[in-house]
């Protein structure tokens, strides 16, 4: 599989390593070349220093036709932009954005973006350790529940995410 990963932090680098060692064609991009120090010296994929929220960059690294795309930078909004570029502009079907703000994560899940929310996963795991009930919404990647936004009828999705009104 051809896989593009934006953000070579601990999560991005760890995932890139594992996927590349399984024989996938992996490209990991990060805005800082120091981030690539997290990769093993014999990392079998490609590491490219560039801005993963730039459409031209994503095209250059082969997002068009990629099987999977992960947006794993430190910034929720950068991840949301990169993921939507991959999905909407390049037609990548399997796209995941890391969104650590739970409210935003839920809003974007309802807007048609698969998200993973570190905050919610950690709160759930630690809460269970402390004897709390399992949060059924904290099961790794949250699949998109809504359709992707269509300007013609934004109200299609408007009712599905309401908790902060």
């Amino acid at each position: 599989m051809r896989i593009v990963i934006v953000g070579c932090g601990r999560v991005g680098a760890g995932l890139a390593e594992r996927l590349a060692r399984e024989g996938n064609d992996v490209t990991v991009i990060d805005i800082s070349s120091e981030a690539f120090a997290r990769l093993e010296p014999d990392f079998p994929g490609r590491a490219i220093r560039a801005d993963g929220t730039d459409e031209d960059v994503l095209r250059r690294v082969g997002t068009d036709g990629a099987d999977m795309f992960f947006a794993l930078t430190e910034g929720d909004n950068r991840n949301v932009l990169a993921a939507q570029l991959a999905n909407e502009r390049f037609g990548v079907q399997r796209v995941v954005a890391k969104v650590n703000d739970p409210v935003r994560a839920e809003a974007y899940t309802a807007l048609g973006l698969a998200t993973i929310c570190r905050t919610r996963l950690l709160v759930d795991a630690l809460g269970r350790y402390a004897g709390l009930e399992h949060d059924p919404g904290a099961e790794g990647v949250s699949a998109a529940t809504g359709q992707h936004s269509h300007p013609a009828d934004p109200r299609v999705v408007a009712g599905s995410a309401t908790e902060s009104r």
Binding site: T53, D54, E55, D56, G75, D76, N77, R78, V80, L81, Q84, L85, E88, R89, D101, V103, R104, A107, Y108, A110, L111, S149, H150, P151, P154, R155, V157, A158, A161, S164, R165
Partner: protein
Amino acid sequence: MYILVVGGGRVGYYLTKELLEAGHEVVILEKNDHRARQIADEVGSIVLNRDGCEGRHLAEAGANRASIVAAVTGDDEDNLVVCQMAKHHFDVPRTIARVNNPKNEPLFRHLGVDEIISPTRMALAAIEQDIPVHELLHLAQLKGGELELLEAQIGEDSPAVGRRPADINLPEGCSLFVLIRGTSVQPLRNETVFEAGDKVLAVSRAECEVALHRELIGDGEPVAAGGSAD
């Protein structure tokens, strides 16, 4: 009208001042506390020291009763998120985003941003106005950016000089329609013969611009006598 401004940089600050002067009800969100205090000194208590990308802060600012949300921070991704949250989470009727990378414009429109303000594109347009020769001028975008309205200035060494419209080899997806010669404006006719100094208006898809440039402006090299550009 209740207007929410997100981002208290220079654009957000002056926008807020102008809107207040025009009599609108405005709240501005600025996440940097130093900057928030600074603008609060000027415009008063309408400044919220909050990150407008977070749903609960937009709620606190009354996004659900805003007629307009204007996201004017310096970061495209933040402006996109503000507009999407406003549109889809709070049913704001009209969202405006400042966009620095012109390539983001089609995506933002597609994702529900109603109005795009692009300083880059504005500066580009102003610069292009000043180099009228040997270039295609981008006059306007049509159909949400799919099509461009362009002006071609026919120079001395344009391959179009001395030819009729039917002799210009253009792909489908672009069309010439108006000739400006001196002070006269005329539709292109079959018998029109292009002269140096003419201006021609065209509507073109982005991918046809290269062909348009080659046929009307030339590719910068001397035109081979009788040579076809193909």
